[in-house]
């Protein structure tokens, strides 16, 4: 492979062994996906549900949309917050490729920030005012998804950089672009639908507005089922259109690569079976919780597979560079300790908040 256009590795070296950054990148990306799915899938779903509800406040679709956007008050912030870490670690591992990819996209990449700002504030405005805000929010988040898929495909294909330099938008013609985008969007919708369904089931089981919550749970369940059907079909299409060397790399990758892929396909089939068995999810709360847990596990495993596909894409380039490692173990340990303390504090804080309701005058 001609590596002329690939910038040099940073002279300072890597402040830890590569495996550590691979792990941190995948782990934090998985955390990001959880909230990103709620943001993207939830907003798209809320937009459609809101249209179907026709603005009638008692319509289950309208209530579903309202709940999804209520969750998004937190989810959007947390999607950004958790997105910072993978953005940091990808720069350590793949600075040469990632920065080049973003530069080749230029303004499109920068405008992702503008879209994010518009989408975020539109989500807030939707809660307070009538108007097109929800649609604006949905369109902007979809635009951000398109941007991320574009930058990903550009950065993993340095052999095509000269072509992307002439027209970055030619990435839209990449055979994997649309299946990949659809894969993320459908996964996001599935996750948001299952979370909304799970919540409605809990409330219905607690005797809270049973009819309404049952209706919402059924609706969300159908969303999840059909999105998963499409997701599975799209997943196989995506696999089929991967560049031949990447596909061969997967097939010859042994247990390390085939294992996660096989597990995620099996989990996907299992999810379909679980969803297809249920017509009224309120009657099967255990299965609903199990389905949500299985989907979360699938997302975790697919995060690994996605990363392995990136590694295979880049292998012809990365194999020609040898990064020096200058580990900063003390600093890593400090980070790890603070991460544990920080997450424990967040957990403790949320627990304390949930167990400290206002009483008397405080509740006024």
């Amino acid at each position: 492979m001609n590596i002329d256009l690939i910038p040099a590795l940073d002279a300072a070296g890597m402040p830890g062994p590569p495996w550590l950054f691979h792990f941190l990148l995948v782990f934090t990306f998985f955390l990001h996906l959880i909230f990103m799915n709620l943001t993207l899938g939830g907003t798209l779903m809320a937009f459609v549900a809101n249209l179907r509800g026709g603005g009638r406040l008692t319509d289950p679709n309208t209530v579903l949309a309202k709940r999804l956007m209520g969750v998004n008050t937190y989810a959007i912030s947390l999607a950004i917050t958790t997105g910072v870490a993978p953005l940091l670690f990808v720069q350590v591992l793949y600075q040469q490729y990632f920065y080049s990819g973003t530069i080749l996209l230029g303004w499109i990449w920068f405008n992702m920030l503008v879209l994010l700002m518009i989408g975020y504030y539109a989500a807030y405005l939707h809660k307070r005012f009538r108007g097109p805000w929800l649609g604006i929010s949905a369109v902007t988040f979809f635009g951000i998804a398109m941007t991320h898929v574009a930058v990903h495909l550009i950065h993993v294909q340095p052999a095509k950089w000269a072509q992307f330099d002439v027209s970055a938008l030619s990435v839209l013609g990449d055979p994997t672009y649309w299946p990949r985008l659809l894969h993320f969007v459908l996964a996001a919708v599935t996750f948001a639908a299952l979370v909304a369904g799970w919540w409605a089931v809990r409330r219905a089981r607690a005797g809270d507005d049973v009819e309404l919550n049952t209706s919402i749970a059924r609706s969300a369940w159908r969303w999840a089922l059909w999105a998963t059907v499409l997701l599975m079909v799209d997943g196989f299409i995506l696999l089929g259109v991967l560049p031949k060397p990447v596909l061969l790399g997967i097939m010859r990758g042994g247990l390390l690569i085939l294992g996660p892929l096989t597990i995620s396909i099996l989990l996907g089939i299992g999810l379909l079976m679980m969803m297809a068995r249920v017509s009224n999810p309120v009657e099967k709360p255990g299965l609903v919780s199990g389905t949500l847990a299985a989907l979360t596990l699938t997302i975790a495993v697919m995060s690994v597979t996605r990363h392995q596909v990136r590694v295979l894409y880049l292998e012809p380039a990365t194999s020609q560079f040898q990064a020096t490692v200058v580990p900063q173990w003390g600093n890593f340990i400090l980070f790890a300790v603070l991460l544990v303390i920080g997450l424990a504090t967040v957990f403790w804080m949320v627990r304390r908040v949930l167990t400290s309701p206002a009483e008397g005058d405080e509740a006024a």
């Binding site: 230029g106 700002m117 920080g342 206002a358």
Partner: protein, 509 residues
Amino acid sequence: MDYPIWDVTMGGGVLMAWVAITHVIVSHFAIGGGLIIVVTETLAVKRSDPELRELARRSSLVLILVSTVFGAISGVGIWVVAGLISPGAIAALIHNYVWGWAIEWVFFVLEIVAALVYYTTWDKISKGAHLMVGWLYFIGAYFSLVVINGIITFMLTPGGWLESHAFWVGFFNPTYWPSLVLRTGICILMAVAFMIWPAFRAGADRRSDLVRYLGWWFLGGVVLSYAGYRWWEAALPDTVKALFLGETPTLAGLAATRSFTLWSLTLGLVVTVLALLLAPKLARGVTAILLMIGAFGFFGGYERLREGTRKPFLIHSHLFSNGLLVSQIDEINAKGIAAHSGWVAAGDASPEALGRRIFAAQCSSCHTLDGYQSIREVLPTIGDMALVAADDPPGSGAIHYRNQCSACHGEIEYEEMAEMLPTLDEIRSDPEFIRELNLGMITMTMIQLKEMGTELAAFDRETTFDMRRLDRPYMPPFVGTDEEAEALAVYLASLDNVPDGSEASGGER
């Protein structure tokens, strides 16, 4: 310099300034606001003071909308823009301080989660639990400053890191503590400049109390800011101080910025004492605006000073803002920039085309063609020469010479230059000759910039450089072979594309 180039008409530096200014204002407000709001709520609960609690509640809405949305997105924006305009430089910074940023991220997570919980649980949870969330928010926010302050100050004063390359030596660098004190003060100033507005909405009987209460906070912020600022100045290496301090500062513009910075703080102090502390009943919207001008002016001035004194480095004495390492100068001079960057090597091999790519790689992180720091503006043109030679009306030639030429020809008086120049008729009749002359001048400048690199490469790399020893202390050197320097000169000379050297072209400039 070996990355593809993002061509931004307005200038990457301007874009970065917009994003960074937005972020620092919001992020400092988020920290100071966190402190004052939670202290205010704590006092309100202790004193059973509903009006004071209402001030905290009203302020927290903006805190959440601004800090969790604008602050978070603009913070990511700094990375996005840095990756677009100075990828090599930001990569170097990240490879040295990734664990610092990772630790900051942990505090950032705590800050954002606590902020969301704090705002949405007013009156829904017990007061004690709500206060606990508020204090956790402030701890998360402040410690993110504690961490990021180490990286920001490292860039200007890496100190002993230049010798040891040790993480903590660079982190606790000479300006770390002064800057932390200064920024703590700024956080308070930013917060009060905003919170004064919700305080105006309090009932008439309590309005003055609340305004005076915030006045004490602002006064505390001024004291911290001033002490931190003077300490920061004192902690700077002499070589950096000399750029904007003393009787003959190297960079007069920065010296003026320093005056602006301190006068802005003085304005904030005067407004606080007179309108917030002594006569709070008189405080009105205009008072708040003056307070904001003082606070923002001080903050903006300080940031400008910090960035200006670091020029032309991203990490002082180690890494230039265009991504060139000091340690790379000799090698690139020997092998050429085209051998270093595939993006420079690829494409048309004509000198002008090659020069354009070299300009993109080496110069475009600071210069645009016609916008911010316009390169065309500082190049010699036929129009310049025609205006200087014509001197019509009398005296205009000297003025134009002073404005356009003396930066490079400071040692030559106008009268001497006028004698050396061809006449206006000669210029008009043979513009090609003038173009050749200009090309020669630009080539000479490139050679001087390359020689500056050789001088820099010979500096002791384990100590802070004394940039005063150089002709152009605010610019990175040119790196590359002599042929590449000539190619860049050819490209730059081609930017003067006015065909006939008419007076109008010079006059327009």
